[in-house]
């Protein structure tokens, strides 16, 4: 085997290796994956392609639409780019670092590609784009700029060159089409290059599919978290309704009496009652508000004791039903925190303490200053958690409760961490569980 050929193979393997490494690093963003693939295809002299683009397929509309394109728009741009690359003699890794995606987004070639919209059923039968979809294979077009088997809208963007058209299929069907030409390099498209191109297309399919799946799972997870929050909100809303209704009944009744009487003593007494009820109403509203979203925390001076006591009131029914005794040893302590979100944390934890507790069980709540934190310990005398599953309790969807979604502690952890605090869970089977929450006494950096 001649040395030159061996070097080519080495170079090719290196290219594939670099692309797959980049793909692994490229997280699960579809744009980032496509950027890596297209950069890999066009980078320097490795594969010898000058420009590449990806069209995505919209099955519902039977439409191919431009997703991203990388490469010089015309000879002038090409000259500028190649001379720079040759001067700097960059290794391939640098191409992935070089030039952010935003830069490419505004390049003339990419903008032209993003405007592309091609109706597949309107393409002639011999069209390579249509055929590559139908026959699930790669096509090479020589003198692509004049090739009638290439859609006209695309030909308009092309220079005299040869090109490869390859479909990207995943298990769920057609994702799109990759196109690459050798417009400015004019390096011939060899058999080896085509093989390499196929391998990269397969990588593209796998990675894009992966990202799709990840995004689907992520969306589903977000929806479920939302659902759990709505359930909690429903409970809060019902509480508000009743708590607000009762003062309204008395305020209305007593004010009506005032209107109907001249008895000054009675008027004064009624006014006093109305005054008290209005204060009660205000307190109720201050107590609960609504559960807002975790992504933003609004820090304010809060009294943790007050927050916990509110939650105990809110859970009074559940506490009564199971004959739980709450033993709280709290001292008034003001810290900076988001009252609404911390309420959700304590709601979830105390509710767990009730639900996992035994009939006539106890819940101890106390706090102490620990280093630079306020440490709040909520301990129940419940069934406890087995050691081997203790780690999992804060992972989303892990639950031991019938009908539970397993998000209570996940949300709690997230909120506490947003406060620069931490949460610890200790448990002994059949003895109970202790949740320790650490909240910073002083806020250093507001997130």
């Amino acid at each position: 085997m001649n040395e030159h050929y061996l070097n080519d193979i080495k170079r090719d393997i290196f290219l594939v290796h670099t692309i797959s490494k980049e793909l692994l690093r490229s997280s699960l963003s579809i744009d980032r994956i496509i950027h890596v693939i297209l950069t890999g295809i066009t980078a320097g002299h490795f594969l010898g392609f000058s420009r590449a683009f990806i069209l995505f397929y919209d099955k519902g509309k039977d439409l191919l639409y431009g997703k991203m394109g990388i490469g010089p728009f015309d000879e002038e741009e090409a000259g500028l780019i190649w001379s720079r690359i040759e001067k700097e003699n960059l290794p391939i890794e640098k191409f992935f670092e070089n030039g952010t995606r935003d830069e490419f987004k505004n390049s003339r070639f990419n903008l032209a590609i993003e405007r592309l919209k091609i109706k597949v059923d309107e393409l002639p039968e011999n069209d390579y784009f249509k055929k590559s979809i139908k026959e699930k294979r790669l096509f090479v077009s020589y003198n692509v700029e004049k090739d009638e088997n290439i859609p006209e809208d695309i030909r308009d963007l092309l220079y005299p060159s040869d090109a490869v058209i390859s479909p990207i299929f995943s298990e769920r069907g057609l994702i799109g089409i990759i196109f690459a030409d050798n417009a400015f390099h004019k390096q011939p498209i060899t058999e080896e290059k085509l093989t390499l191109f196929s391998i990269i297309s397969t990588y593209a399919a796998l990675s894009i599919e992966n990202a799709f799946k990840y995004n689907e799972v992520k969306n589903m997870q977000d929806k479920l978290i939302e659902k759990e929050r709505f359930a909690t909100m429903g409970k809060i809303a019902s509480y508000i309704t009743h708590e607000v209704k009762n003062p309204l009944v008395t305020i209305c009744g007593f004010s009506k009496q005032i209107l109907e009487t001249d008895d000054i003593i009675k008027i004064k007494r009624n006014a006093q009652i109305i005054y008290e009820e209005v204060l009660r109403l205000e307190k109720i509203i201050n107590n609960i508000i609504n559960f807002s979203n975790i992504s933003n925390i609004f820090l304010e001076e809060i009294n943790i004791t007050e927050i916990i006591e509110n939650i105990i009131d809110l859970l009074a029914d559940e506490i009564k039903e199971k004959n739980i005794e709450i033993k709280s040893y709290l001292f008034p302590c003001n810290i900076k925190g988001d009252p609404v979100q911390l309420k959700e944390v304590f709601f979830n934890i105390i509710k767990n303490g009730i639900e996992n507790n035994v009939e006539f069980g106890k819940i101890y709540i106390n706090c102490e200053v620990f280093e630079k934190f306020l440490k709040i310990v909520i301990r129940d005398t419940g069934v406890g958690i087995e050691e081997n599953i203790l780690e999992k309790v804060t992972t989303p969807f892990f639950t031991t409760k019938k009908g539970g979604l397993g998000l209570g502690l996940t949300i709690a952890k997230e909120i506490i961490e947003k406060h620069n605090g931490k949460i610890e869970i200790e448990s002994k089977l059949n003895e109970g569980t202790s949740v320790n929450i650490y909240l910073p006494l002083e806020v250093q950096n507001e997130k």
Binding site: S238, H242, K245, V249, T250, C252, G253, Q257, I273, A316
Partner: protein
């Protein structure tokens, strides 16, 4: 002879309001602040009608209702609450009326009047 009504309601201000409003209509009104207190009044007093709140600490209104029914079968009971969800609880069907608390107290007053008139016949 005035009709005698017992109000079982844990909220003091509401208790005062309902008592005064019903007294205006010419009834003799007794009050109890808990289910337990209410039941002991029912044991001792002669009554014509009971107004019962549902959400009370210690003994739940529905539990009180069950006890009332087992003691005094033909005593009319009005459930007066801000909770609509109990309406579907079969125990609440045993009451003669289920009224949701509202700022307009006349619905309660009218129901009291109506039930006492039926009782007379």
């Amino acid at each position: 002879m005035k009709n005698r009504i017992l109000i079982i309601e844990d909220n003091e201000n509401e208790r005062i309001l309902y008592k005064e409003e019903l007294e205006k209509d010419g009834y003799f009104v007794l009050v109890a602040s808990s289910g337990k207190e209410g039941l002991s009044i029912i044991e001792k007093e002669n009554l014509d009608l009971i107004i019962l709140d549902l959400k009370m600490p210690q003994m739940d209104g529905l539990e009180v209702l069950g006890k009332i029914l087992s003691k005094r079968k033909n005593l009319p009971v009005i459930i007066y609450t801000s909770y609509s969800e109990y309406k579907n609880n079969f125990l609440s069907w045993a009451a003669d009326s289920y009224i949701l608390k509202s700022s307009d107290i006349s619905e309660l007053k009218n129901k009291v009047k109506e039930l006492l008139e039926i009782k007379k016949i």
